[in-house]
């Protein structure tokens, strides 16, 4: 697909440049400048260059422990994500396991659930004093040794894995489905049984995808502020995000926070670099020509054991958190006999009475929608420039737009703070800075979606319009945009869902006037209002599920997008 050769009309050339300038300006403000400020802030104190911040970060026990804990958390999460995600992927894509759809749904629901909700739910279940399961085991069963304290590294891993195993699951399932059947059949013809074939042929072919998933799980796990604050802090398990957050107590230590943020980024970028290089060297996507899908393995009686495992995952990752939150939200007071006093007053409280939560809901809806829209617009510009023009520097812009992928949420916040405090524009503490943070954070998702959407359009479709006389804007509106719309819509949703539940950056950027949904949840939790917190959590999930359902209804209601419309 070569770029379209443009007629050298002055207006076309100027338009492209304007678009490029706008996109570049937006990316600069959203991504580049904040990062530069972060870098500058980490090596300066009162205007002078210094390495004191880094020295402090690497010498004080407080910070080294945080770094170590983050590494341990990430490693354990990655390993368990593979232990859960790979069997599930194999079960769904290769075997005749019954209820495969249900397993797939488990992974999807786990993925879209905000991690801090799972953390709160598990605190309600396994809190050392008041956790329902612990109370039951201790008082009813009389076995205090069997209680589980969720406020520990083990508890932290437990509440994180449900949100990271879907990465391994999705990548592994995709890889397993794309192994050409003949690869495995040729091993069978040579006498290898099912397990030998899996070991010698299938496993090596999907290993890069599985490892890639594990690394992505690692990167995501260490960046989750919510669960690490809710579960880690009470157990005195400090990690990088919570340490950085603590640095913003009065007086805020911007320099040290910046230095720690850069260390955090380095960790993330290193993991992503390993993932890219390893994958690039051994990309084994193998479906080609008349390749066919491998046949499903009949597990016989073993399938019930596997199904049992899948059900266990469902219970831990989906059923337990949601049922718990639902139960807590409907109870007057959370305890063993909670069902005797069910009420809707918590919902009434957060939805109608409590001003803070009402505004938070409205703010988050507004911010997420706006951020998604801005991100998709910016992403479309970047993608269009990259795919349909030959302007110099468009590749650089494409890479720049992908930079936020390597930035943990809290680092984005620190960078934003560093930049906007120096600039004489008073947006710190307003909704605007949160909007910019969301947009900057999620623009890579929008760029990727837009790029995929435009890539699918054969340039010939646009060239036909141009030859019949339509200018580039007319062509874009009449041909490119309608054809790309489903993909752009998917991109919008891809940004909306994480934006509405975003916590790691919001926690540093909010103010009493610009509260977001996740921060409201966190604050309510911190003040100990268990029952309203659960109600607000359920409200969050309802919004997310409604958005996803609405979006798939709207996107699915456009059949025939791939059929060419011939003018009658």
């Amino acid at each position: 697909m070569s770029a379209v050769a443009r007629p050298a009309t002055a207006s076309a050339v100027r338009a492209e440049h304007v678009v490029m300038a706008c996109a570049a300006a937006a990316l600069t403000v959203l991504v580049i400048l904040p990062l530069v400020s972060l870098g500058w802030g980490s090596v300066s104190e009162d205007g002078a260059l210094t390495l004191a911040h880094f020295r402090e970060a690497f010498s004080k026990r407080l910070y080294l422990t945080a770094l170590t804990n983050s590494l341990i958390l990430g490693a354990w999460t990655a390993v368990l994500s593979v232990a859960v995600g790979l069997p599930l992927a194999w079960a769904v894509s290769r075997t005749n396991l019954p209820a495969r759809r249900f397993v797939h749904l488990t992974a999807v629901v786990s993925y879209i659930t905000p991690p801090y909700l799972t953390a709160i739910a598990f605190v309600n279940l396994f809190g050392p004093n008041a956790g329902l399961v612990n109370v039951f085991v201790r008082d009813v069963l009389g076995a205090p040794a069997l209680t589980f304290n969720v406020f520990s590294m083990a508890g932290l891993v437990l509440v994180t894995v449900p949100h990271t195993f879907p990465f391994v699951y999705l990548l592994a399932a995709s890889a397993l489905e794309s192994v050409d059947a003949s690869m495995e059949e040729s091993a069978q013809m040579l006498g290898a049984g099912r397990w030998r074939t899996a070991r010698a042929v299938t496993a090596p072919l999907v290993a890069p995808a599985v490892l890639s998933g594990a690394l992505i799980a690692f990167v995501n796990a260490i960046a989750l502020f919510g669960s690490q604050a809710i579960v880690g802090l009470p157990g005195r398990v400090f990690t990088l995000p919570t340490r950085i957050y603590a640095l913003f107590d009065h007086p805020p230590q911007y320099g040290l926070a910046s230095a720690m943020s850069l260390i955090f980024v380095a960790l993330t970028v290193a993991a992503l670099a390993v993932q890219r290089r390893y994958l690039a060297r051994r990309s084994y996507v193998t479906v080609g020509g008349k390749g066919s899908r491998p046949q499903r393995i009949d597990l016989g009686r073993a399938r019930w054991a596997l199904l049992g495992f899948c059900v266990l995952v469902f219970v831990v990752a989906v059923l337990a958190p949601y049922l718990t939150l639902l139960a807590v939200s409907l109870s007057k007071s959370w305890g063993l006999a909670f069902w005797q006093n069910l009420t809707l007053k918590n919902y009434r409280f957060v939805l109608l009475e409590y001003d803070v939560t009402r505004r938070a809901i409205a703010n988050s809806l507004l911010l997420a929608s706006a951020a998604a829209t801005l991100a998709v617009v910016l992403g479309s510009l970047v993608a269009w420039l990259d795919l349909r023009t030959t302007l110099a520097g468009r590749k650089v812009m494409d890479y720049a737009s992908l930079v936020p992928l390597g930035l943990p949420g809290i680092v984005v916040a620190v960078a934003m703070i560093q930049f906007w405090l120096r600039v004489p524009v008073p947006i710190y503490g307003t909704l605007l800075i949160i909007l910019l943070a969301y947009t900057g954070r999620y623009v890579p998702l929008a760029v990727r979606s837009a790029s995929a959407a435009f890539r699918q359009i054969d340039p010939a479709l646009e060239e036909t319009a141009r030859i019949t006389g339509a200018g580039w804007l007319r062509t874009f509106r009449a041909v490119s945009l309608p054809l790309a719309r489903p993909g752009l819509f998917a991109g919008w949703l891809l940004v909306f869902v994480p934006a509405i539940q975003e916590l790691s950056a919001s926690i540093l950027l909010f103010s009493s006037g610009s509260m977001t949904l996740a921060v409201a949840v966190y604050n309510l939790y911190e003040t100990g209002y268990l029952e309203p917190v659960a109600a607000l959590a359920i409200v969050t999930m309802v919004i997310i599920v409604a958005a996803v359902a609405l979006a798939s209804r709207l996107a699915g209601g456009r059949p025939g997008m791939d059929r060419p419309t011939v003018a009658a």
């Binding site: 690869m183 059949e185 040729s186 013809m189 072919l205 390749g291």
Partner: protein, 356 residues
């Protein structure tokens, strides 16, 4: 002895009948080709023999032992057959040596013997010295030879090949064709080969099973299938053919007479059951027609010079259009009046039916 016997084998995929009541047998050491267009069921039939697909009806026996029935299918790994796939399916994460040695390792052959046998078979397929290479570093033709070597090293009695040459360019294809034939002759392995290329089938096979829509239309040697096609469909598939309407003048077996284009009689062999006066269709190939001075009158409507011959389209006096191959020396102009002579012995007559 490794003869394959298929008995009434049928396979359905939902509403589609991929293989319909196929009965044929492959003798030991024979090279048999399943030939037909896309969707005719030849690959399904091959996979039935390999054991990847369970038949809905019928039986597949090898050396008398039933390997596939609707109730029970011996799994592929226990059949001791070899298979070369169209995509070669050479494992990208293993070297050439590891690819070829795999089957021997599964059979727990001692390491020294593995090395020796792998070296020998690589020499056999002209890949000596490339043991340490990875498939990504090999050309298409080399990868295909790795796939071949991998199947041959375990010395199967039957080798199944699914269009192994279709991904190669024309020159390489022809060379590999020769090497495959030579290989089969030397090793004596029974080859079951699938292709849609009739020239390939004719060059390689002892017998060809011409298939369409899940059925075997004809099963015989290349000469038989080409010169004595069993039906119009087979005649059509195996190269160019002219169909000329005619009428039986004298029904006398090999010495019958059929009139074409009015009163021109041609001595052709008739199928049994032909009655005098019956309308028939005479199938005659372009190379069996000649533009000599005598025969049926006609007019040239198209003459294309192809280098080694001239491809002519001639309209006969009754309006039938036929294709004739003339020598490259002849100069033929459009509109020229010619006479077409028919080599009756090379014709096949089909009793009148619209299509068969």
């Amino acid at each position: 002895m490794a003869g394959i016997a298929l008995d009434g084998v049928t396979k359905r995929f939902g509403a589609v009948v991929a293989v319909r009541d196929v009965t044929l047998s492959v003798a030991d050491r024979e090279f048999v080709t399943l030939l037909g267009p896309s969707g005719c069921g030849k690959t399904t039939l091959l996979r039935l023999i390999a054991g990847f697909v369970r038949p809905d009806a019928g039986e597949i026996r090898v050396d008398g032992a039933a390997l596939s029935t609707p109730e029970r299918v011996v799994p592929p790994e226990q059949r001791g057959m070899g298979m070369v796939f169209q995509s070669y399916a050479v494992w990208p994460h293993k070297t050439v040596y590891e690819n070829v040695a795999f089957g021997l390792e599964v059979r727990r052959v001692p390491r020294a013997e593995v090395r020796a046998r792998v070296a020998r078979v690589l020499e056999l397929v002209n890949l000596g010295g490339l043991e340490a290479r990875y498939p990504a570093q090999l050309s298409g033709g080399q990868q295909q030879r790795v796939a071949l070597a991998r199947s041959l090293v375990v010395e199967p009695s039957i080798l199944l090949l699914d269009e192994p040459l279709s991904n190669l360019d024309a020159k390489l294809r022809e060379r590999m064709r020769g090497e495959l034939k030579e290989l089969q002759r030397r090793t004596g392995i029974t080859f079951v080969y699938v292709t849609h290329d009739q020239a390939e089938a004719m060059a390689l096979s002892d017998r060809i099973a011409v298939m369409a829509e899940g059925r075997v239309l004809q099963y015989g040697g290349p000469r038989e299938v080409y010169a004595r096609p069993a039906s119009r469909a087979v005649a059509d598939f195996m190269g160019l053919v002219n169909i000329v309407p005619g009428r039986v003048v004298r029904a006398a077996g090999e010495a019958s007479l059929v009139a074409v284009c009015g009163e021109h009689t041609v001595a052709v062999p008739l199928p049994p059951g032909a009655a005098e006066g019956q309308a028939v269709q005479v199938a005659v190939r372009p190379e069996s027609l000649a533009l000599t001075g005598e025969g049926i009158a006609g007019k040239v409507v198209e003459a294309t010079y192809l280098g080694n011959l001239v491809d002519c389209h001639v309209t006969l006096q009754d309006g039938t259009r036929v294709r004739v191959q003339a020598g490259s020396g002849e100069s033929l102009a459009v509109g020229q009046r010619v006479r077409v002579s028919v080599d009756g012995a090379a014709c096949t007559v089909f009793l009148e039916r619209s299509a068969s």
